[in-house]
């Protein structure tokens, strides 16, 4: 491979890597979007935390203490 070809090859590789990075980093949004997304997650989580308070096994202390398994495998 000549040095020109080699350089071309390297450029191609860099391009592909960058394209890949760009496509893979679509999830990284500008700050405002992150804040909005953060708020959304918080609302979701708040709703779930309300649910957890309702569905969590009662007497968790006793329940967790009594959860005893035999080793397996």
């Amino acid at each position: 491979m000549s040095s020109d070809e080699h350089q071309e090859q390297e450029e191609k590789t860099t391009q592909t890597t960058e394209q890949q990075r760009t496509s893979d980093t679509e999830n990284i949004q500008p700050d405002t979007e992150i804040t909005e997304k953060g708020e959304e997650i918080k609302d979701d989580l708040d709703r779930l935390l309300d649910e957890i308070d309702e569905i969590l096994e009662e007497d968790s202390e006793e329940f967790v203490e009594n959860y005893i398994q035999r080793g397996g495998e």
Binding site: D24, D44, R47, I55, L56, V64, Y67, Q69, E73
Partner: protein, 516 residues
């Protein structure tokens, strides 16, 4: 030729019954397993003759008891499923084994089908109990008191590869794979260093680097050499170091990246270049490092973080496995592996919809923040446990999934279908289809054999020693018959074309072997 990819997983579930005086996990497991029926027929027994669990990959047989059950006990303990999988009682746990699959994606489908089978069984079993008693099944790996139960992965591997190459190549990979595959755990066990929260459920239980045991002094590399296939050609890598995963993304990546690393080992390029000085304590160190950045000491004097080590494996795959040898699923796995490592580098909490340990950590932090609880509070431990609850209305992972807070890999329809349909591209197709069509004429089944007993006559044993045979493409025509008698006759007549229809033979030339 690329070596065929054959993968399967085994999951032992935790089990508990609410409002009983005394817990009886063996009785509860028997009740649950026997409350499931995927066809209207008597049960077929499991053929233990084909099993060699004490064979060690290092070239010797360990003395030990192997279980031979009476026929009645056998069919109470075992159910062989029409999806090609196995459902049974192992010690004091219900256990589900997926059928043999060829891709990580199919493993997700069949593992999730297993979770549904367990939940159906639970509902049926509960209906037979007094109203106040509730059965709870957890897909996790510990009772948080030092008793662990397993989640095992199995990968078919060529016999000619040196076992030491597997050991050298896999230990650093497994020690660091937890950052992707961990299910998260509150607290620590087994006399290990304290932790509020750690990445893996199982890391505390690994005490040696290499060994045969799965129940005590657990090894990072398990040496069970039982391929359930032609042992001249294949070995089975029996991986016991992983956690059970709720998250589809975690299962998919765990299985997918391990399969790719095994291909790298087959190319002979890995050897011991990432050898860690102290892998056993590194297991626990990595599990406790929630940044995934703390450096581990390598034998060559270098230091690498878990993220960097995983990245090194990924880079080697890009370098040594040509693009045209990567399937679409392989490429997707590589892209998701790369994405996951970059997110972990930025901030692991960015993966709070992907990886079990991060999803759980996000949930626990939000809960402790809201109520001002500390990590030792029983409600915090309860959330940890309940994350793995398989009841759709109570399980916290399943609630998050329902609320659209979890990234998925497969869809519900294909999971439901996988409860009763075997994969079409392995011998599970032959097994599952025979069980669906001819159960009453099948006496016993193992992973690599099937015994037919037609009209109480002599038993005919069919061997299936090559797991990638027996697929729909190879045996679809053969199975197109109305009775088991016809099938057996067809196989007998097909002796001279067995190479076309699949390896349903004990050796390259044979056909059905009469065992009685």
């Amino acid at each position: 030729m690329t070596f065929p990819s054959i993968i399967g997983t085994e999951t032992e579930y935790g089990i508990s019954i609410k409002n009983v005086k005394e817990q009886d996990p063996v009785g509860a497991s028997l009740l649950v397993v026997n409350s499931y029926k995927d066809r209207d027929a008597e049960r077929v027994v499991w053929d233990y003759d084909q099993e060699t669990p004490m064979m060690d990959a290092r070239g010797f047989i360990t003395e030990g008891e192997t279980s031979l059950l009476k026929e009645d006990d056998n069919s109470v303990i075992n159910d062989i499923l029409i999806n090609g999988g196995r459902y049974y009682v192992d010690h004091a746990h219900p256990e589900y084994c997926t059928p043999e699959c060829t891709t990580a994606r199919d493993i997700v489908v069949y593992e999730k089908a297993g979770d549904l089978i367990l939940d159906f069984s639970r509902l049926n079993a509960e209906a037979t109990l007094p109203a106040e008693q509730e059965i709870i099944i957890y897909k996790n790996n510990t009772d948080y008191k030092g008793h662990s139960y397993g989640s095992h992965e199995n990968y078919l591997f060529p016999r000619e590869i040196e076992f030491q190459d597997l050991v050298d190549g896999l230990i650093p990979f497994f020690v660091t794979r937890q950052i992707i595959a961990g299910s998260g755990k509150v607290g620590s066990e087994n006399n290990t260093d304290p932790a509020d929260f750690q990445i893996s459920q199982r890391a505390d239980f690994f005490e040696t680097e290499v060994g045969l045991s799965t129940m005590v002094a657990r090894p990072i590399i398990n040496t069970r050499d039982e391929p359930h296939a032609n042992d001249q050609v294949y070995r089975r890598l029996h991986v016991i170091v992983g956690d059970s995963n709720m998250s589809e993304f975690s299962i998919y990546l765990k299985i997918g990246i391990t399969s790719l690393v095994l291909r790298l080992i087959q190319k002979g390029v890995l050897k011991d270049q990432f050898k860690l000085i102290d892998p056993v304590s590194d297991m626990k160190k990595v599990s406790r490092d929630l940044t995934c950045r703390q450096k581990l000491n390598l034998n060559n004097g270098l230091q690498q973080s878990p993220i960097e080590l995983q990245r090194s494996y990924l880079d080697l795959i890009h370098k040594f496995i040509p693009f045209d040898q990567l399937s679409e699923t392989d490429q997707d796995i590589l892209s998701k592996w790369d994405f996951t490592l970059r997110e972990l580098e930025l901030d692991p909490m960015r993966l709070d919809q992907h990886l079990d340990w991060v999803i759980k950590k996000r949930l626990l932090e939000a809960y402790t923040d809201r109520h001002g609880f500390d990590w030792k509070d029983s409600r915090v431990r309860m959330i940890d446990l309940q994350y793995h609850d398989l009841r759709p209305d109570k399980g916290l992972y399943l609630r998050l999934l329902k609320n659209g807070r979890i990234v998925t890999i497969v869809n519900r329809e294909e999971v439901v279908e996988a409860i009763t349909q075997p994969p079409t591209d392995t011998r599970a197709y032959f097994r599952g289809t025979c069980l669906r069509k001819f159960t009453q004429d099948i006496y016993s089944v193992s992973w690599n054999s099937m015994v037919f007993c037609i009209d109480d006559s002599a038993l005919d044993k069919v061997f299936m020693d090559r797991p990638h045979f027996g697929s729909k493409a190879l045996v679809g025509d053969l199975l197109n018959c109305d009775s088991a008698r016809q099938l057996v006759e067809k196989i007998r007549l097909a002796n001279d074309r067995l190479d076309q229809v699949g390896d349903l033979s004990p050796n390259e030339a044979g056909g059905i072997k009469d065992v009685v």
